[in-house]
Subunit: 664 residues, 2 copies
């Protein structure tokens, strides 16, 4: 490793010191925040912008801009200070003064959508790197389709925490494999974490680690602007993704606190701030930026404006401008609805049983044929998740013409990369794994919900119905746990019709991610009467209506068949059982009260789902009952398990009789 | 990388072929399962046992046995075949014939507790490696305390999937850092995953990657017994953890299917099985093992029996036998209960506000002083999680005398390592992170619940009450999501008293892991009257009882204070509000109906929790209401957020009035 020379303030520039001072001032005023990283990385990041980054503050959404991802989201003042200095209109001095206050754009961690130019929400460590891998992949894919219109870099600023998190391995591994050469990671190698020196918990040679995964690496003094610039220049030329280890001093510039974990996440205090100002030769008052510091930042913005204008001219002259715009626009809803309705008409009520994972593939054939920019993939379960449709070709190292990603056994990175792909634009990503492994990707699913991204998680093998693989692979709590996440739609379709409807809704929801939970085992068609309208969009609906409703059976997915069989039994006894299919409880909850009341009815209710009860109490009510799982599953053939755990027509009928009598 | 020579059947041994044939037969009979890995790794693993592994089938729980962890759990027939061949009494031929059937010991993936000698439940990839790192760490810690009694190896069999999963990075990083030299990983380098060749999704040089994290590595032909043995020998001598890349052919021995992903997870079929038998020169019938194959396995068992007997003689002669046994026994419940009751007596009702995370540290001071074998740690949030108590010393590379682990920014590995530590025995592990990052460790938390391990997850910053860090750090759905996991206790104590009680229960529950959710912000003491008995053990209880109960307010953690203030307001209006504190809904659910009815009362109910409603409907009922979060949080001071999201005494009082009137 290159010898690290302790830098002095003499090396820094007004451009970098503006970041330092604005950071100190904002954290001090908020009495909360993380000054260490912005102060430490100010030199490296300011030279990155000064020489390389192409963004236009007057058009933050310019598609061909460079992406800068602040994976170490606690250093949010780095983003806010830079955007303020670049002249982003919404990043005013008042916003900096309101850092971390309710309603400000300057949240504790950078929040996508809160202010222009924030490329992704970060804070949970490691996510940003994986988002960036997704963005860099999307850039390569889009560039393969529109070489004259797409050619930009994805830069990442990350810290030690990002590189300790497991997701970083998944992201680095696949980025190296796919040779995402326009991805450049700047690692803030400050050797400090919250507990103290990194030597408390790690000895990994990060450069060797990245090299092992096919990355180009460099080691530089992170306060030496020319060294950083040369490393970035070399990284841009290399066909591999690049990692530049920037050896820095955390909180650089603070005379007594720099280099200590104490400067990581707490205000410096008035005295240290004054001393830092003196050391940096900074005479301006709080939140003030002298012209000499602002000027070079505005030059960056001006360069970006020029580049953007040139790009717009290219777009205007391009014969493929329309195609490019279509690929980046919302999917053609009318066209997809027509296609799905047509497909639904072909589904026969007396078709043989079909697993909804297979039905999902059939629906996807329609979706992928209809929409131009679907990007499929699976975490190494392609044949099980049924995510690959006719004519799809694999994305491969050096060949970005494909539309199917082999994400490898990396559920977490897949979900986070899909977030990055959606953020980048140009593609609608979906990816498959087993529902049980939603747990592995959960931190990234949460962020897709928080950001409101149109990502579709295909999750097959959705209950004990998967059979012999046993409890480690059988989700019982996952539906409840996913339903708990705000702004996430959890679909559990009962048959091929509902599966197609779920896909239609998922793909046409621009601000809400979806999980589509699908069965491994075969299921009959339960929606025997065709409707052009999407009944799944109501969340729940009456599938079978008896003359007199003595009880209502509510079920999802594979248990709708069981509820129908239970209703048959009850009918033989003269008991009228309505059957409600509830493929998406989140959508049902959004319906008006009259609709909900009509579906739920006045009679007592029994819910059936091969999962835990948590959350069902809302729908069954005080007089109701639940038939499902109360603990983990077991290994055995699916039919044996349903019998063993008592999720059968007989058990549902028995529960129905009990709620009717009030003896449950 | 060493040149790989395609081996022929001539290299294999009856010892290894017995594994192959039993695997084929069991998978065929079950018509389900994964023959590829057991057949591919049969040579390497059989030589591992033949020359090195020290286990005694007649005493599977012998503390100083070598641990063998099958991280690639889908290769479960490897375990079952080996245990059958070693003569484990409960692994009969009938069990092999009932592979993957309901009620058998031979579940689809190895399940801890289902059969003797299964060291951990595996299947979700990457978990086993991290469990093994925990076991190897526990071994080093225990050996430092009892050098004459503890000295064993931890072996791991893993596949490509384990090494692609992010958790593997976390585990490898910390194992290398801590120089866990008695950890030896055998990687089944078969270059095949479910989707096809590994070249579809990875290019990582695994050996270089492990070396970058301070491991000793070797590359061998996995079918060359002598090469494997020599590598294991060298690994045992090296002071670093070791990874041996065993280049193998998946499904080795099957004439037409070996080397293809088709042999990974499906039966071979009668024809291929017959051809394999012929190729291996195996004439015995299904599930039959000839003496020449059984004999060397029984010799391994005999060697283990001898080693175990010698160890028992050492234990009998050791002056520290009693201490050793105490450390491995269940914690002294009576002693801890007395200590906690004594501590509770010192808590004053009029003490200043105290965050429950700080109260947790105070309770831990008592626990750690009272019990000899607590092992603390945090995922780099020691000062925030308050997990380190007086006198604790850090575990460091080459120094295992400490009792506090700096797990690094590795929530997932921390949780999985704690599972391994608990499985190894000798220590009660607890580890801290933020509640929001329960998502990162969730797959391992699930396994702790499935296995029933006494692991304590300390999770601080448990709501919007953490303030400025914003929605990425504010759990809103995590309490519900954790409550959905079977056999997990989720504690959310309201004050220092309940916090101490939660710790007492958590540490004394041998078969149930716990999450203790703790506040960042200060909270008053709400349990103003001392009781020696542990009221938290009832899950919920009446904290304040009015003369006439017009409404019941149920709250947890930091919202109990709000419920009490609401009750005060209501009292001023002549409305009698009972306040129920519900620190653990799982325990409350287990109470008898009379107790639950008495606590919940006849009056309408309002629940208050700064989290999503999901699951609360069970306790509020049709006539009730909920005051909490309906979406993600925001960045701002905690008090502003509670006001903004309407979780206030005024809002609770308003909801109470509404439920009393029936207008909610």
């Amino acid at each position: 490793m290159q010898q690290f020379v302790q830098p002095s303030a003499a090396h820094t520039t007004p451009m970098a010191n503006a970041i330092r001072v604005l950071t100190m001032d904002a954290v001090e005023k908020a009495n909360s925040g993380h000054p260490g990283l912005p102060m430490g990385m100010a030199d490296a990041v300011s030279v990155l912008y000064e020489r390389f980054v192409s963004v236009d503050p007057s058009m933050p959404g310019w598609p061909d801009r460079d992406r800068v991802v602040y994976s170490a989201g606690h250093g949010s003042m780095l983003v806010y200070a830079i955007h303020h200095l670049l002249g982003f209109e919404d990043m005013t001095r008042a916003e900096l003064e309101n850092f971390r206050q309710l309603g400000s754009r300057t949240a504790g961690h950078p929040e996508y959508g809160h202010a222009d130019g924030i490329e992704t929400t970060t804070g949970p460590l490691g996510q940003g790197i994986a988002n960036a891998v997704g963005m860099a992949l999307a850039e390569r894919l889009e560039a393969a389709r529109f070489p004259d219109l797409v050619d930009h870099f994805t830069y990442v600023v990350c810290g030690d925490g990002c590189l300790m998190e497991g997701i970083s391995h998944e992201a680095i591994d696949i980025a190296g494999h796919l040779k995402l050469g326009k991805l450049i990671v700047l690692w803030d190698d400050n050797r400090i974490t919250i507990d103290g020196p990194t030597s408390l918990s790690t000895s990994t040679d990060q450069c060797a680690r990245f090299e092992a995964s096919g990355w180009h690496v460099a080691n530089v003094d992170g306060h030496d602007r020319e060294a950083v610039a040369a490393a970035i220049e070399a990284a841009r030329e290399d066909e591999r993704p690049s990692m530049i280890a920037c050896r820095t001093v955390i909180g650089f510039g603070a005379p007594t606190m720099a280099g200590s974990h104490k400067v990581h996440g707490a205000p410096l205090g008035a005295e240290e701030i004054a001393a830092t100002r003196a050391a940096l030769g900074w005479t301006a008052g709080p939140f003030e930026v002298p012209q000499e510091a602002r000027r070079p930042w505005l030059a960056v913005a001006e360069r970006g404006r020029t580049a953007r204008a040139a790009w717009e001219a290219r777009l205007a002259a391009s014969s493929r401008a329309g195609t490019f715009r279509t690929a980046r626009a919302a999917p053609d809803a009318a066209r997809l609805r027509t296609a799905i309705a047509g497909y639904k008409r072909t589904l026969s009520a007396d078709a043989p049983k079909l697993a909804t994972r297979v039905a999902s593939q059939k629906a996807l054939e329609v979706v992928n044929r209809t929409l131009p920019n679907m990007l499929g993939g699976s975490a190494d379960l392609t044949g099980s998740n049924n995510t690959r449709t006719t004519g799809m070709t694999s994305v491969a190292p050096g060949d970005a013409s494909g539309d199917y990603v082999h994400y490898g056994i990396r559920e977490h990175a897949m979900a986070a990369m899909m977030n990055g792909i959606a953020l980048h634009g140009g593609f609608v990503p979906y990816g498959g794994t087993f529902l049980c492994f939603a747990d592995y990707s959960r931190p990234a699913i949460r962020l897709s919900a928080l950001m409101g991204l149109p990502v579709v998680h295909v999750m097959t093998h959705d209950s004990i119905g998967l059979g012999e693989d046993g409890p480690t692979h059988q989700p019982v709590e996952h539906l409840a746990a996913l339903r708990a996440i705000p702004n996430l739609m959890v679909f559990r379709p009962a048959d091929a019709v509902e599966t197609a409807e779920a896909w239609e809704i998922a793909v046409l929801s621009p601000r809400t991610p979806s999980v589509i939970a699908l069965s491994r085992q075969g299921l009959p068609t339960v929606r025997t009467r065709h409707t052009d309208d999407n009944r799944t969009a109501r969340g729940a609906y009456v599938l079978r209506s008896p003359d007199r409703r003595d009880v209502t059976l509510i079920a999802t997915g594979s248990e709708v068949e069981i509820a129908l069989a239970a209703a048959d039994r009850l009918a033989e006894e003269g008991i009228g059982a309505a059957v409600v299919s509830a493929p998406c409880l989140e959508l049902f909850r959004r319906q008006d009260g009259d609709y909900r009341a009509a579906v739920l009815g006045e009679a007592p209710r029994v819910a059936v789902e091969a999962a835990v009860e948590l959350g069902w109490e809302r729908w069954t009510g005080d007089a109701g009952a639940f038939v499902g799982m109360s603990g983990f599953g077991a290994s055995g053939p699916a039919a044996d398990l349903y019998e063993h755990f008592g999720i059968t027509p007989a058990a549902v009928a028995e529960a129905a009789r009990a709620v009717i009598k009030g003896t449950n």
